[in-house]
């Protein structure tokens, strides 16, 4: 339960990160909050030759900022900072509600929003929220920067569409008042068996589910149709049929709440 040896890099600017990734290639992993990466290293599910520690980047904001009607989160904005941010409370209260379901306070104090998105775990809450709100990721590398819409960002379980040498320098979540989130976990703070976020969309609602397939989807229409498009798997924690049952019940509940809040 200790990481395998690696070389350690401590860049102080985003440009230095670009250079390191270009030089080190696929042998390098970025470390921000480490709340997903370090367990993986401890369990030796991965043994990257290089760790690039982003925690010493200079002049990185620790808080979200408002830009063009969206909340922008840099690579070192911690979950806990966002959860208690006055800007989030005013412009995107759904995010604060969702963050209350992410693990425990001692995990949220270190974990970052960008890191959770880059990790691309479909069982995590934030990828579903990014897709639901039609947010985006600002991606960069030695070759330049580009904006990737949420719907094009997730390629599969723990997999994004980023090219080698690219990394996420910022995620953007459009401001939205209202919305609702619920999840069911055996114990609070565990990965949910099923979760769902909803916002009012046109006359109806848009839904995005947590832990119900390889990538989060943005689903509109009635709840039964949306649930019909989910592809959860059986595992040791719950059967696919039980997860679909939860999706229907939680989906109906958040859809009702999202419409009431609109």
């Amino acid at each position: 339960m200790k990481p395998a040896p690696f070389a350690y890099h401590r860049p102080s600017t985003r440009e230095e990160v670009d250079g390191l990734l270009a030089e080190l290639g696929a042998d390098a992993k970025l470390l921000a909050g480490g709340q997903s990466l370090i367990p993986i290293l401890n369990m030796r599910l991965a043994a990257p030759a290089h760790i690039v520690d982003l925690n010493f980047l200079r002049d990185e904001p620790g808080q979200p900022v408002l830009e063009d009607g969206a909340l922008a989160f840099g690579p070192l904005v911690r979950l806990r900072a966002a959860e208690h941010s006055p800007l989030v409370a005013e412009r995107l209260p759904l995010l604060a509600e969702v963050l209350g379901h992410v693990a425990h306070p001692a995990i949220r104090s270190r974990g970052t929003l960008v890191g959770s998105i880059a990790h691309a775990d479909p069982a995590a809450e934030l990828p579903a929220l990014l897709v639901l709100l039609e947010g985006s990721a600002r991606v960069r590398g030695a070759g330049g920067a580009r904006t990737v819409p949420a719907v094009e960002l997730f390629a599969g379980h723990l997999e994004t569409t980023l090219e080698p040498g690219e990394w996420i320098e910022e995620i953007r979540l459009p401001a939205h008042r209202g919305g609702a989130f619920e999840e069911f976990a055996r114990r609070h703070g565990d990965y949910a068996l099923c979760g769902v976020a909803a916002i009012a969309d046109g006359g109806g609602v848009a839904l995005s589910f947590v832990g119900m397939g390889p990538v989060p989807l943005r689903l509109t229409g009635d709840v039964a149709d949306a649930v019909g498009r989910l592809e959860p798997e059986d595992d040791i924690h719950a059967s696919a049929a039980y997860r679909l049952h939860l999706a229907r019940r939680l989906g109906e509940r958040v859809a009702r709440r999202a419409l009431e809040a609109a």
């Binding site: 200790k2 370090i38 401890n42 369990m43 760790i51 520690d53 306070p105």
Partner: protein
């Protein structure tokens, strides 16, 4: 690599491998064995320390990443003469520990919140402590202890 860790107000210069976890640096390099190590993947909570005032898992942080941060461990609670911190006194009085393995993590997690604990609902307090696992299942005493600590501190 050489790093400087600031723990309980004192600076320590140590030579560690980059892969050294903060939990292991505290225990093996600094001899601060009050921070316990259980699951080593962030689930059990007994390695929790304060990093810049907020609870964090020391098993999920490289010692190198902790350079420059203000670390507080359970050794930093009691006074120099051995007088227990009010939170420790409360755990003693309210049977907040049995085997003691999870206790450092509970104490550190409760440290930033115990002053407000008397006003917190049971749900709120249990949620705030929820990332800590007690192997002896003594949660009732632990919750009572955290609630009682501020009153012990304020007693003449």
């Amino acid at each position: 690599m050489e790093i400087t860790l600031r723990v309980n107000g004192a600076e320590h210069r140590i030579d560690v491998e980059p892969r050294r976890l903060l939990s292991d640096a505290l225990r093996h390099d600094l001899g601060l064995t009050g921070t316990h190590v259980g699951c080593e993947h962030g689930v059990c909570g007994c390695c929790t320390v304060l990093v810049d005032g907020e609870p964090a898992r020391s098993c999920l942080m490289l010692a190198a990443t902790a350079e420059g941060a203000e670390i507080r461990t359970v050794e930093g609670l009691a006074a120099a003469d051995g007088t227990l911190h009010p939170l420790q006194e409360a755990f003693k009085r309210h049977h907040g520990l049995q085997c003691g393995f999870c206790t450092p993590g509970f104490l550190i997690t409760a440290l930033p919140i115990y002053r407000e604990a008397a006003e917190m609902s049971d749900d709120e307090l249990r949620e705030a402590l929820g990332g800590q696992l007690c192997r002896c299942t003594g949660y009732v005493g632990i919750v009572e202890a955290v609630r009682a600590a501020a009153a012990i501190e304020d007693a003449p």
